[in-house]
Symmetry: C2
Subunit: 364 residues, 2 copies
């Protein structure tokens, strides 16, 4: 059921509004379409935090000229299947898709392609990229750094972003397996929601600015940090930290971007790091041609079998049973494609504010 405060908008209306907003700032037509596609896919798949709800931040960054609307994206170093790309401080929603295309083109030519990207900005949902690779019968990977929020295990300060990893595998009759996970225990949004509702959060999500486990969201918001996946030493918090470090190094150390705590902020209101160790934030993309390993249809049939066997796992008592990674998002996509995208009043107000400043009409 739709909460009474939410309002439904056709996906195409929101997408077109995004296109016009990007064009307003001089983003070239094709790039504006691509950037709007990335945001639109997030809304369709139910990842509300990464869709049109973020348009106001992009709008602010473009208004303040903190992002280059017409970047010259180029390969700065290359050896056959691998390369480094400089995004020229463009929108991550434009640099990301282009770098991902480079990875896929390399995979066509060399069996696989691997691209580390510097001088870029927030690139939307991580799974957009492997989903593109599926269209070319490839296994795609994407990772990105982001503004610091996470403490390494046994640390008492924010040093890493929520650094997601995404990869997808195609089925023949089944929808693809789509893995898209932040390497933190939870998203920052969940801490904000708890604060707004005046609730505590579960043990294992956050630490205070002394690095102590706490359940009070304010302790995290006021100088504390999120915990990595695994939360504490006993449950494997060192593993989540190591995964976040892997994403950080592949995306930002290897490309020449700002790694770890030095990643520049996504939004204007966030603190600017006291040191620069490179250019912009970093992404990492990979693409592997399935045909290079196995007949594509045989692989897809094996994935179908995998999906069916795992779906039929004996369910744990009191649960609905095992899901396949990507199930919740596929489900949301089939509902929202028909019903539209539910937006909260605050998001609608943001879009109206953009409309007021740009003169682009926002109506349904």
């Amino acid at each position: 059921m739709l909460p009474p405060t939410e309002q439904l908008f056709p996906s195409s209306v929101l997408r077109n509004f995004c296109v016009e907003v990007f064009r307003h700032f001089g983003v070239p037509p094709q790039d504006s379409e691509t950037a709007a596609d990335v945001l639109s896919l997030a809304d369709l798949r139910g990842i509300d935090s990464h869709g049109v709800a973020r348009l106001h931040t992009y709008f602010e960054m473009l208004t303040m000229k903190r992002i280059n609307p017409t970047p010259t994206i180029r390969i700065t170093r290359e050896h056959k299947s691998v390369c480094t790309v400089d995004g020229d401080n463009g929108l991550g929603l434009v640099v990301g898709p282009m770098a991902n295309e480079i990875a896929m083109d390399k995979a066509t030519q060399f069996g696989s392609g691997w691209v580390s990207v510097c001088n870029t900005n927030h690139y939307g949902i991580a799974s957009y990229y492997p989903l593109q690779a599926l269209k070319r019968d490839m296994i795609g990977w994407s990772m990105t750094t982001s503004t610091k929020l996470v403490a390494p295990l046994w640390g008492a300060e924010r040093m890493l972003g929520t650094n997601p990893i995404s990869i997808a595998f195609p089925g023949l009759k089944n929808l693809p397996i789509v893995i898209d996970l932040a390497t933190s225990a939870v998203a920052y949004g969940k801490i904000e929601i708890a604060k707004r509702k005046n609730q505590t959060v579960p043990k294992g999500w956050i630490v205070s600015q002394q690095g102590e486990m706490t359940t009070d969201p304010d302790d995290m918001i006021n100088g504390g940090a999120l915990l990595p996946l695994g939360s504490e030493r006993e449950l494997g918090g060192h593993k989540g930290y190591a995964l976040a470090a892997m994403v950080d190094i592949l995306s930002a150390v290897l490309s020449g971007a700002n790694w770890g705590p030095f990643a520049p902020p996504f939004a204007l209101r966030q603190e600017i790091p006291d040191r620069s160790v490179g250019k912009g934030i970093g992404h990492f993309f990979g693409a592997m041609e399935i045909e290079g390993f196995m007949d594509v249809n045989e692989f897809k049939k094996r994935i179908d079998d995998w999906i069916e066997v795992f779906r039929n796992t004996k369910p744990a008592k009191g649960t609905g049973g095992v899901l396949i990674p990507g199930d919740p998002e596929h489900n949301e996509e089939s509902i929202r494609t028909k019903a539209g995208i539910p937006l909260l009043p605050a998001v609608i107000a943001d879009l109206k504010d953009i409309s007021k400043h740009t003169g682009i009409p926002f109506t349904v």
Copy 2:
């Protein structure tokens, strides 16, 4: 301090004993040396469960002719930087290093190399492989499937192995960052230790055969399962499950091996799956030439900087502060290289048993 029951052995003595045991079963001289190197590195780095303590299992599998001592390891499908390798049911300690060499040779030729391996067996410690890649100024990855022990989130049966992921990054003045993590919350060995000591285990490690969280090790041992990294939904158990699934698919679905619950057992006493969906277990190796992305020395300096910044993270109250992935193993290696490898009486008894059956002397 060494527990009074443990006895120290020079690493070279244990390594040479392993070489002779492999040779005894007809494993070619060079392959025997390689296999012994993999076990020896585990012992040196303090990963006791994967070193000479496992020799008795390899001994049994070779005695029963369940493993082929003289495999013809070959590429069955290939496109430049990617390929599939059939290990011909050889020792994973031989097939793994050879497939990893193929990945590195491809990286020299094409910038990167990616190898999915079927028809293989247990390959030792996952970090052996990326550590080899460091010698060639490459970033190496390794993953492998293993006998089922882990339940997917909301499942009540064992469906996945502890499926590790390893990757390493070289420093210039600093020892490398070495990431090597099982995608389960903990290793099975910890459940066995708790049982032996008649202790409970922390909530979040295991489920019973009804899929309910439990702290009694017997509930897991008698038909229950380990939980994936993240443990429960609230702390991100779906993420650990997704990572284990990724390893399973890249290693076993893509190569034509037995995936998920169908992975054949490592040891003779383990249950044989009721269905076969391919050949042996699966590994996945990757190697990327650092030079293809960035000047190698510049990268190593950036890694040094990363290590120093993260080591200087403000420490959490009551902890020793942040470690760099690989620190505990580097530390152990420097101690054990001089002092020797501590072995438990049960392990020494196993080695003496091998000595008795093979006639190879085991003495210090």
